[in-house]
C-alpha cells in the first residue's frame, strides 16, 4: 500500500499558483482612497459583467459625500437593498440630525456604521480579494469616497429549493425532512435537532474560484479531537479551482484512494447526521449540495438505515441481517451458479440437477458467457432506466422484462435458471440502504464471476479471502474499516449486524469516541411498579 500513499500525497500537495493566471492587481490589493479608482478597478476586474450593479449616490446634508453601492443582481435581496440601505442613506440621513462632514479621519465611516446603516451583518473591508468574494456571494458593498475602507453588508438572498423529502434514502417511519442545497439551511436543520452549545462548527472556504463554503460540525467532547484536526487538516490541504459537490471533498479526504469501498459516509437526512454526531462522528457540510459527509465511516454503517432505530429492535435486527445476506447474494450468487454448473455438479441435488440440465440443453453458451450476457444486459437496463426521461420508463420495463426475460428464454438463448439468478441478484443489489456500497458489489460481482469460471468454488473462496484482506486493510480516519468485527469488539456487536434495544445501547462505539457513556441505564421495567400500583388500588 506504500505506492498508494505516495500517490495520495501528490494529489493533496498544494500546487504552486500557476503563472498563467493574470494578476489583476500587481502593485497592491488594498482599496484606494478615490472612489472612482475603486469602482473602475472593480468594473474592469469583473469584465463589465452586466449582473454587477454599480450605483453612485451622494449623501450628507450638502450631498458632498460620494458613496458607491455595488451588488450582484439576483444574489442580493433587492427589497432590503432599496428599502433599508438606499433609503437610509439617501433620505433618512437628511431628515435625522446625523451630521456628516467629509473629514480626513474616519469619523464618517464610524458615523455611517454606528448610526446610519440599519442592517445586522456588517463588516469593514479594505482589500479587493475579500471584497470580490463577498460581492460575488451576494453581499452589498458600500464604498465611500476618500476612504480606503468600505463596508460589506450581508444581504445574501437565494431562492433555494426549501426542505423537501429525501429521495435517495427513504424511510417508512422517521422524519421526512431532507437537506437542501443551502448550507445555512442545512446547518440550521442539524442545530434544530441538537440544541447543545457543544455542537461546534468550523467553517472553511474551499476552491480557489468557487470559494465553496464547507462547514465541519462536531460535538465538542464527544468527537475525538485528533479526528477533528485530521479532517480540518485534510480539507485545508485541498487546492483546487472548484468544489461542486461533497463528493469532490470526499475524494480528497478519503484514506485509501484505490478501493471500491466508500470510506466516507454520505447522507441527505438530518436525523442520520445528528445520530452520527451523537456517536462522535464528524459531519462535513458543503454548500450547494444536499449530501452531507460523515466520518469516520465503517463498513457496517453502510448497511444501517436511520429507520433501524425507529423500528422495534427485533425487526430492525432481522432486517439488518437480511441486508447482509442480500449483499452477499448480490456479489456471489452468479459466481456460485457458474461454479456449480461448470465444476461441482455433485453438490446440486439430483432432482434439481436434472431440471437444470434439461433447461440448459438447447443453450449454446457455457454458463459463464450466459451469465456475463445477462448481467451486462441488466446493467445496461439499469443505467438506461436511471438516465432516461420518466415518461419512457414504463416502455423500458416492458422491453426489459418481456424481451430480455421471456423472449430470450423461449428462443433458447438463455436458460430460465439464469434469468432467475440474474433477477435475484438484481433485486438484492438494491437492498443496501446506501448506494455507494451497492455499487462496490456491482463491480465485484463480475470479478467473482470470472474467477468462478476459471477456478470454481476454490477460486471464489480465494476471492473472498482477498476481499476480506482488502477490507481489513482499509481504515477511515484511523478507525479500522471492519470494526467492530476486526478488531473484534464484543460491546460493538450490540449495534452492528443486530441492533439491541435502545436502552441496552449504553455506550458509544469505542473506536469512534473515547467519551463512551451515552446514557445511564434508563429504567424500562415498568411491569413491577404498575403491578404494585394495581394491587394497592385493589
Amino acid at each position: 500500500m506504500n505506492l498508494f500513499k505516495k500517490n495520495r500525497k501528490i494529489v493533496i500537495q498544494p500546487s504552486p499558483p500557476s503563472k498563467s493566471e493574470p494578476k489583476s492587481m500587481p502593485e497592491s490589493n488594498s482599496l484606494r482612497l478615490k472612489l472612482e479608482e475603486n469602482l473602475q478597478h472593480i468594473k474592469s476586474s469583473v469584465g463589465e459583467s452586466s449582473d454587477i450593479v454599480f450605483r453612485e449616490i451622494k449623501i450628507g446634508n450638502e450631498g458632498n459625500i460620494k458613496v458607491g453601492i455595488i451588488y450582484t443582481e439576483g444574489l442580493s435581496d433587492s427589497v432590503t437593498l432599496q428599502q433599508i440601505i438606499m433609503e437610509t442613506l439617501m433620505l433618512e440621513i437628511k431628515e435625522s440630525d446625523i451630521d456628516l462632514e467629509l473629514t480626513s479621519d474616519s469619523a464618517v465611516l464610524t458615523t455611517l456604521k454606528d448610526f446610519a446603516l440599519t442592517v445586522g451583518e456588517l463588516t469593514e473591508v479594505s482589500d479587493f480579494d475579500q471584497l470580490f468574494t463577498r460581492l460575488l456571494s451576494g453581499d452589498v458593498i458600500v464604498l465611500v469616497d476618500g476612504f480606503s475602507t468600505g463596508f460589506i453588508i450581508g444581504n445574501k438572498s437565494w431562492e433555494g429549493r426549501g426542505v423537501t423529502e429525501p429521495t435517495a434514502q427513504t424511510v417508512i417511519r422517521g422524519p421526512r425532512e431532507g437537506f437542501s442545497e443551502n448550507i445555512r439551511l442545512n446547518t440550521a436543520l442539524v442545530r434544530r435537532i441538537i440544541k447543545d452549545e457543544n455542537l461546534w462548527m468550523i467553517t472553511k472556504e474551499v476552491g480557489r474560484r468557487t470559494k465553496t463554503n464547507v462547514a465541519i460540525m462536531y460535538i465538542n467532547g464527544v468527537a475525538e479531537k485528533d479526528a477533528v484536526d485530521e479532517v480540518t487538516n485534510r480539507i485545508g490541504r485541498i487546492d483546487i479551482d472548484g468544489i461542486l459537490e461533497s463528493a469532490n471533498i470526499e475524494e480528497f479526504i478519503q484514506d485509501s484512494q484505490f478501493t471500491l469501498f466508500p470510506t466516507v459516509f454520505n447522507t441527505e437526512r438530518p436525523d442520520t447526521v445528528a445520530a452520527g454526531l451523537l456517536e462522535g462522528r464528524i459531519a462535513i457540510l458543503v454548500d450547494g449540495t444536499p449530501f452531507v459527509l460523515l466520518v469516520p465511516a465503517l463498513f457496517v454503517q453502510f448497511f444501517q438505515s436511520s429507520e433501524d432505530y425507529y423500528q422495534r429492535a427485533v425487526m430492525a435486527s432481522l432486517i439488518r441481517l437480511l441486508r447482509f445476506v442480500a449483499y452477499g447474494i448480490s456479489i456471489l450468487v452468479p459466481a456460485l451458479y457458474i461454479a456449480l454448473i461448470t465444476f461441482h455438479h455433485e453438490i446440486i441435488p439430483p432432482a434439481l440437477l436434472v431440471s437444470l440440465a434439461a433447461q440448459r440443453e438447447g443453450v449454446p453458451f457455457p454458463a459463464f458467457v450466459e451469465a456475463i450476457i445477462m448481467e451486462i444486459t441488466f446493467e445496461i437496463l439499469r443505467e438506461a432506466g436511471l438516465r432516461m426521461p420518466r415518461a419512457i420508463g414504463s416502455a423500458m420495463s416492458i422491453v426489459g422484462a418481456f424481451v430480455i426475460g421471456t423472449a430470450a428464454v423461449e428462443a433458447g438463448i438463455i436458460s430460465a435458471a439464469m434469468v432467475i439468478v440474474v433477477s435475484i441478484t438484481a433485486i438484492s443489489s438494491f437492498v443496501p440502504p446506501t448506494y455507494d456500497i451497492a455499487i462496490a458489489g456491482r463491480i465485484l460481482r463480475f470479478v467473482f464471476m470470472g474467477i468462478a469460471a476459471s477456478f470454481g468454488l476454490y477460486g471464489i473462496l480465494i476471492g473472498v479471502i482477498a476481499l476480506v484482506l482488502h477490507l481489513c486493510s482499509l481504515s477511515s480516519f484511523g478507525v479500522p474499516y471492519m470494526s467492530p468485527f476486526a478488531p473484534f469488539n464484543l460491546a460493538g456487536q450490540k449495534d452492528s449486524v443486530v441492533r439491541f434495544p435502545i436502552w441496552k445501547l449504553l455506550t458509544r462505539p469505542s473506536e469512534i469516541s473515547k467519551n463512551r457513556i451515552r446514557q445511564r441505564a434508563t429504567k424500562v421495567n415498568f411491569k413491577k411498579s404498575s403491578h404494585s400500583k394495581r394491587s394497592q388500588d385493589g
Binding site: I347, L461, L471
Partner: protein, 373 residues
C-alpha cells in the same frame, strides 16, 4: 507499520489457524495408519505434548520481549552463528510454505480440478499470500478474526450433519496398539502442529499487545486447534472406521462426501474444503511472513515488503517442482519434514537455551533483557 500490534484475541485466532493448518486434512490418516482406532488418543497426547513445547518456546522468547526470534538468535549466539541459525530458520519456513502450497494444489488437482494446470492453482494462492503479507500482520490478524467465525460455523455444520452416521463401536477396542507407537505418532503431530509454530515467534513477543495474555492465548489456541484435530480424527474413525480412514489420502474430505441430510444436501465436500483452505491459507501466510520478515532482519532491510515479490517467485517455483507425485509428498511429510522440524524447531532453541544459561550474567546487563517472571 511497526506500531500496529496484534491483540490477544487476534493472536489466539492465528494460533488456532496455525495449529489446524493442513493437519485437519492429513492427520487422521497419518495417525490411523500407525495406531489404528487409537489415533485419537495419539492426537490427544500430541496436543498435550505441544503445550510443553509452547512453554519452552515462550520462555525463551520472553527473555527478550522486544525482539523477534531472529534477533534473539543473534543476541545469544553472536552475529555469525546467530545469522546462520536464522538462515536455517528462514529456509525452513519458506520450504514449508512451498510444501503446503504444493500439498493444497495436489489435493485440488486430484480431487476437484483434474484439468487445471498446477501452476495456476499455485499462483492463485501465492498471489493472495503475497497480498496478505504486503498488507501487514495487522491485516492478516484482522481477516483471521473474521474467518474464524466462518471456520467454526462450517466445522459445526460438518460435525452436526455427519453425526447421524456415527458408530461408536468403531473406536473399540481401546489401547490395542503399543504405547511406543502411539507416542511416536503423537510426536509427529506435535512436530507438524506445534513445533513448527516457532514461525509464530516472528510475531509473538515483539508484535503483540499484552504479552502475558497472549502467552495464555498461545496455550489456549493450541488447545482449541488441537481439539479440532482430535475431533476430526474421532469423527473419521466413528464414521469411516479406522481401516477406511487409513486407506484414504484425504480422510476428512471423504468424511464430508458421506454427509447426507434428508437426501437433499449431499456431496457438499467442495464446500467443506473451505475449512482446510482457510486454515492452510493462514498457515502458509504465517510461514511466508516469518520467512520474508526474518530474511529482511538477517539482511538488515528495514522494509520487508521489498522482499515479498522475489521470495514469492522462489516459493512459487519451488511449490511447482517440490513434489513430483503424491508418494513423494507423503515420504517428505513423514520423514524429511520431521527431521527438519526437529533440527530447526527443537535443537536450535535448545542450543540457544544452553548458551543463554551459560552466558546469563552478560545478558542481564542487556537493555533488551527482561525478567520473564
Amino acid at each position: 507499520m511497526q506500531t500496529d500490534k496484534v491483540t490477544p484475541f487476534q493472536f489466539l485466532v492465528l494460533v488456532i489457524f496455525f495449529t489446524v493448518g493442513s493437519s485437519i486434512l492429513y492427520i487422521p490418516s497419518t495417525l490411523t495408519i500407525a495406531v489404528k482406532q487409537d489415533a485419537w488418543i495419539a492426537a490427544l497426547i500430541g496436543n498435550l505434548l505441544g503445550l510443553v513445547v509452547i512453554w519452552f518456546f515462550t520462555t525463551i522468547s520472553l527473555w527478550f520481549p522486544k525482539l523477534t526470534y531472529i534477533e534473539i538468535n543473534e543476541k545469544i549466539f553472536g552475529k555469525f552463528l546467530g545469522k546462520s541459525i536464522s538462515i536455517l530458520f528462514v529456509l525452513m519456513t519458506l520450504l514449508y510454505a512451498s510444501a503446503l502450497i504444493a500439498q493444497s494444489s495436489i489435493f485440488l488437482i486430484t480431487q476437484m480440478y483434474p484439468e487445471t494446470p498446477i501452476t495456476f492453482i499455485n499462483l492463485l494462492l501465492v498471489i493472495i499470500v503475497v497480498m496478505a503479507v504486503r498488507l501487514g500482520i495487522q491485516t492478516i490478524a484482522r481477516s483471521a478474526e473474521i474467518f474464524i467465525f466462518i471456520f467454526f460455523f462450517l466445522f459445526i455444520v460438518l460435525a452436526v450433519s455427519i453425526s447421524p452416521q456415527i458408530d461408536v463401536t468403531n473406536l473399540e477396542p481401546f489401547f490395542q496398539t503399543k504405547l511406543s507407537s502411539i507416542l511416536s505418532s503423537s510426536f509427529k503431530l506435535t512436530a507438524v502442529s506445534t513445533v513448527n509454530s516457532i514461525a509464530l515467534f516472528m510475531i509473538f513477543p515483539a508484535f503483540v499487545n499484552e504479552i502475558k495474555k497472549c502467552r495464555k492465548n498461545f496455550y489456549l489456541g493450541s488447545l482449541i486447534g488441537g481439539a479440532v484435530i482430535v475431533s476430526i480424527t474421532m469423527l473419521c474413525i466413528f464414521v469411516l472406521g479406522s481401516n477406511t480412514t487409513a486407506r484414504q489420502v484425504y480422510p476428512s474430505y471423504t468424511l464430508a462426501k458421506v454427509i447426507n441430510v434428508g437426501d437433499f444436501i449431499t456431496r457438499i465436500e467442495a464446500l467443506m474444503a473451505t475449512l482446510w483452505t482457510l486454515a492452510l491459507f493462514f498457515k502458509v501466510t504465517l510461514y511466508f511472513y516469518a520467512g520474508v520478515f526474518g530474511l529482511s532482519k538477517i539482511l538488515n532491510i528495514k522494509e520487508y515488503r521489498v522482499l515479498t515479490f522475489p521470495v514469492a517467485a522462489i516459493v512459487l517455483f519451488l511449490s511447482i517442482i517440490i513434489f513430483p507425485n503424491i508418494l513423494y509428498q507423503t515420504i517428505f511429510d513423514e520423514k524429511n519434514a520431521i527431521v527438519i522440524t526437529t533440527i530447526v524447531g527443537l535443537f536450535c532453541p535448545l542450543l540457544a537455551t544452553i548458551v543463554f544459561l551459560l552466558r546469563k550474567k552478560k545478558f542481564k546487563k542487556d537493555p533488551d533483557y527482561a525478567n520473564s517472571n
